[in-house]
């Protein structure tokens, strides 16, 4: 197996651990392995960094969108016969 093929196999085998790695639920040993590999492999470093950024952007958006729009709430309360509690 050439060095390039070997590296490709290693990149692919690390891929399955990426979610756990980013969520902080991966074992220390495997984290270390990913850290060492990413320090050597520019493509994997970029994938890890941009995947982490992708997830954090969605978290950020979610934090801003928790409330139901006022008119949707009103309609919902009326449809559930809860209009007496609308002002609370």
């Amino acid at each position: 197996m050439s060095a390039k093929e070997q590296s490709l196999t290693q990149c692919q085998s690390l891929l399955v651990f990426l979610s756990d790695y980013i969520d902080g639920t991966l074992s220390d040993e495997l984290c270390q392995e990913i850290n060492s590999h990413a320090a050597e492999c520019e493509h994997c470093r970029i994938v890890v960094d941009t995947l982490r950024k992708t997830i954090s952007l969605y978290h950020e958006c979610a934090d801003e969108q928790g409330e139901i729009p006022g008119e949707v709430r009103s309609k919902l309360f009326k449809s559930l016969n809860l209009q007496d509690y609308l002002e609370q």
Binding site: L18, E42, L51, T54, Y58, C61, R73, L76, F77, L80
Partner: protein, 201 residues
């Protein structure tokens, strides 16, 4: 408007306390509406799913055994309602069927290697950036989208997501990774493009 989720009394709900039901609706309608909107892609359908969710929750309160949390139980009802509406549009959708997913397996290996993490902060959540983020989620197949929305937008754990969808934790993890990798690819196209434009300016 927002109510605390932790002090909703199941006992009062079971006794038919309307005020408590209103508190339940206020505590959960925000996240359940967001879930329905992300899954269905339009407000009228999301409103229908939300309304049906609370009607069913109220009707079936006696079947809530407390083995999962109230929140997980409501997410399960809301997911089923949204999926039912989706199936009206596309009857072939089956969240539990992993065969179709495996047959439809796309290569999930990353192909975009642009480091767009160094963009100025205001670029990420600009109006256009938000559109790209939303569009990328809409482009996910339903089987991946529902897992991503529950886990990464609604912040449910892997275990809770598996309880909501009736899937194994392994299946949830596999779908979550696929969803995240696909989103990364799409966002790499958009933010990579932004990076190129900035470097030329």
């Amino acid at each position: 408007m927002s109510e605390s989720k932790s002090d909703i009394s199941i006992e009062a709900l079971r006794l038919g306390d309307r005020g408590e039901f209103a508190r339940l609706v206020d505590a959960y309608s925000g996240p359940l509406y967001r879930l329905a909107l992300k899954l269905l892609g339009n407000a009228p359908d999301a409103e229908d799913a939300l309304q049906n969710t609370f009607i069913k929750a109220f009707q079936h309160l006696d079947t809530f055994e407390g083995r999962s949390s109230l929140s997980t139980w409501l997410y399960r009802i809301a997911s089923n309602e949204a999926l039912m509406l989706l199936r009206k549009r596309r009857p072939e959708i089956n969240i539990a069927d992993t065969t179709a997913e495996e047959e439809d397996e796309r290569n999930n290996d990353p192909v975009q290697f642009i480091d767009w993490c160094c963009l100025p902060e205001e670029e990420y959540l600009s109006a256009e950036g938000r559109k790209a983020l939303e569009g990328a989620v809409e482009n996910l197949p339903e089987t991946l989208r529902i897992v991503f929305v529950l886990r990464d937008i609604e912040d449910l754990s892997i275990q809770e997501t598996s309880q909501v969808l009736g899937l194994s934790e392994t299946a949830v993890k596999t779908r979550l990774l696929r969803a995240r990798l696909r989103l990364r690819e799409e966002l790499s196209s958009y933010y990579g493009d932004r990076l190129n434009k900035r470097s030329k300016e």
